[in-house]
Point group: C2
Chain length 250, copies 2
DNA sequence: TTCAGGCATTGATTCAGGTCAACTCTGCCC
DNA sequence: GGGCAGAGTTGACCTGAATCAATGCCTGAA
C-alpha cells in the first residue's frame, strides 16, 4: 500500500519514444494528451527535442510526488489522471489549492523549493523534465513560454475565484460552486459530475469540514437540486437553481 | 469627489517621452520604476518601442479603473502607488484578491473580459497598453514574455498562500500573516508597517469583518506584539511571536 | 461468513466570528 | 468654534459551521 507520508516516484520511469501517432500536435509525447497539453504549442521538431529530455512516470493513487517545501528539481506535465495540490500548516490543517488533470503543468515555481505538495488521486501518468533542461527548452521554444503564460493566467483566474469562495461564500454556496466547476471540467452534457476525490478532499478544497460537506450534499439532495449516485458521482438535477445558489444571488 | 461606482480614467493620459534617465533599465518608461518593472527585462531598443505604444495615466484615490466583467481592452504596468484587486458577489459581498504596487502588471486575463476589478488606494500612476498592441509586443520581445511568466508564477504562489489563509487560518493567524506579508513588501527593517488601506479593505482581503479586524488588532496590541500608530501605520514589537502565530504553530 | 478499517452520514452541542448597536475619534467645511 | 460624515473601536448577543459522538455502509482479508 502506498505510504502517503513519503514522497517518491512509483512505477517505471523511462525514456519516451515517439511513434507515428505521437507526432500529431493533438497528442503529447507518448500518451495521447489533448489540446491543453504542452504539445499543442509545439511542432514535430519541437516534440522530437522534448522527447530527448522528458521522462514518463507512473504515479500510484495516494502517492505524494511533490513535497511542499522540498527542493524544486522537476517540472511536470500530466498526461492522464488527476492530482490534488495542497498546502499544510504545522498542526496538520490542510488546504487543497486545486486539482490538476490531463494536460496541466506543475512545478512552475520561481523559487528553488516547491510552494505546494502534489498527490495522485488516481493512477497518474506524467512527463517529467528536470528544471535545468526546462529552462533551456524555454529559450529554444518561445511557443512553449506562450503556452505556460496562458496556463498560468488561467490558473490565476481560477485562484481568484477560489479566494472569493473561501473568503466570502457560505457552505451551501461553496458546495454548489464546486459541483458546477467540476461539471465544467468534465464537459459532460448529461449533468453527471464525477468526483474522484473523497469528502475529506472536497472539505480541504472548500475550507469546510467533512461533516459540513456531507450535510450540505444531503441538503442539496433533499432540495432536489442533485441526485447522489454510487461510486463518487453526482447528477445535477436542477442546474438553474444550483447556479443561482452558487453565484450568491439567494 | 471621485465616484467609485463609475469606472473611468482620471488625469491626463499622454504619450510617453523618454529622457536620458529613463533609458536606464532600472527605470520604467517615464516614471522611475524599480527592478520589478517591465523594463528590467528589456533593453534600450525595447524600451523605445514600448514608449511608442504605452500611455501614462494618473488614477485618483478611490477610483475604479478596471471593472470586473467589463471588456478587457487594456493591459497595465503600475509605476507608482497601490491598487486593490477584487471580486464581488451580486449581493455586495467582496473579496480583495490582492494588492498590487509599483512594478506590477494587471490585465493578464486570457478571456476578453476582466475577471476582477481594480481600484486605486492612493494616487496611482500607470502605463497603459492596448491589449492588441501588447500581443504584438510579446511577439517582438521574448524577454517580456519571460518577465510576465515570472510575475504570474509569483502571483500564483501568493494566491496559494492566500487560499491557505482564507480556508484554514483563524482570525488571529490571518491578521498576523497579513502584517508580516505587508512588512516583507515594505522592506522596512525597523518593523514599521504602512497600511495604506482601510479596515474594510483589510477585512475584505482576509475574509473577515471590520469588527473582527479591529478587535484582533487591539488584542495583538494588548498582547504586546504590535504598537498601533497614528495615520495607518503599525509597528511590529515582537516579530518572533507574531511569526509563530502567523504560521499556525500555536 | 465474519471481521476490520476507512469512508460517509446524521445528531447534539459548542464556539469563533458575524451581526447589531453604541460610541469615539478625526478631519473637514462652514 | 460647531457640526457633520466617515473611519475605527468596543460591547452584547446570535448563528453558521466546527466539534464531538454514534452509527451505517462498503470492500478486502482471513
Amino acid at each position: 500500500m502506498p505510504d502517503p507520508t513519503t514522497c517518491q516516484f512509483e512505477g517505471r520511469p523511462r525514456r519516451i519514444v515517439l511513434t507515428g501517432a505521437h507526432r500529431s500536435p493533438e497528442y503529447c509525447l507518448t500518451c495521447g494528451v489533448r489540446s491543453r497539453s504542452v504539445c499543442s504549442a509545439l511542432d514535430d521538431g519541437d516534440i522530437a527535442r522534448l522527447a530527448e529530455t522528458a521522462v514518463e512516470t507512473l504515479v500510484l493513487p495516494g502517492r505524494c510526488f511533490i513535497e511542499e517545501g522540498g527542493p524544486a528539481t522537476d517540472f511536470f506535465n500530466i498526461t492522464s489522471g488527476t492530482v490534488k495540490l495542497f498546502k499544510a500548516l504545522p498542526d496538520g490543517r490542510r488546504q487543497i489549492t486545486g486539482f490538476a488533470g490531463t494536460g496541466h503543468f506543475l512545478g512552475l515555481a520561481v523559487s528553488d523549493h516547491y510552494a505546494f505538495g502534489a498527490e495522485a488521486l488516481d493512477t497518474v501518468r506524467l512527463c517529467r523534465f528536470s528544471r535545468a533542461r526546462m529552462r533551456h527548452l524555454l529559450d529554444d521554444f518561445p511557443r512553449m513560454e506562450r503556452r505556460l503564460l496562458e496556463e498560468a493566467s488561467n490558473e490565476l483566474v481560477a485562484a481568484q475565484n477560489q479566494m472569493l469562495l473561501l473568503g466570502r461564500k457560505t457552505a451551501r454556496e461553496r458546495v454548489a460552486s464546486f459541483l458546477l466547476d467540476r461539471m465544467q471540467d468534465a464537459l459532460d452534457p448529461t449533468g453527471i459530475v464525477p468526483l474522484p476525490m473523497t469528502r475529506a478532499d472536497i472539505a480541504d478544497y472548500l475550507g469546510l469540514t467533512i461533516e459540513t460537506v456531507s450535510r450540505t450534499l444531503s441538503w442539496l439532495r433533499r432540495e432536489g437540486m442533485i441526485a447522489i449516485g454510487k461510486g463518487h458521482a453526482i447528477r445535477i438535477a436542477a442546474m438553474a437553481r444550483l447556479e443561482t445558489l452558487a453565484s450568491g444571488d439567494s
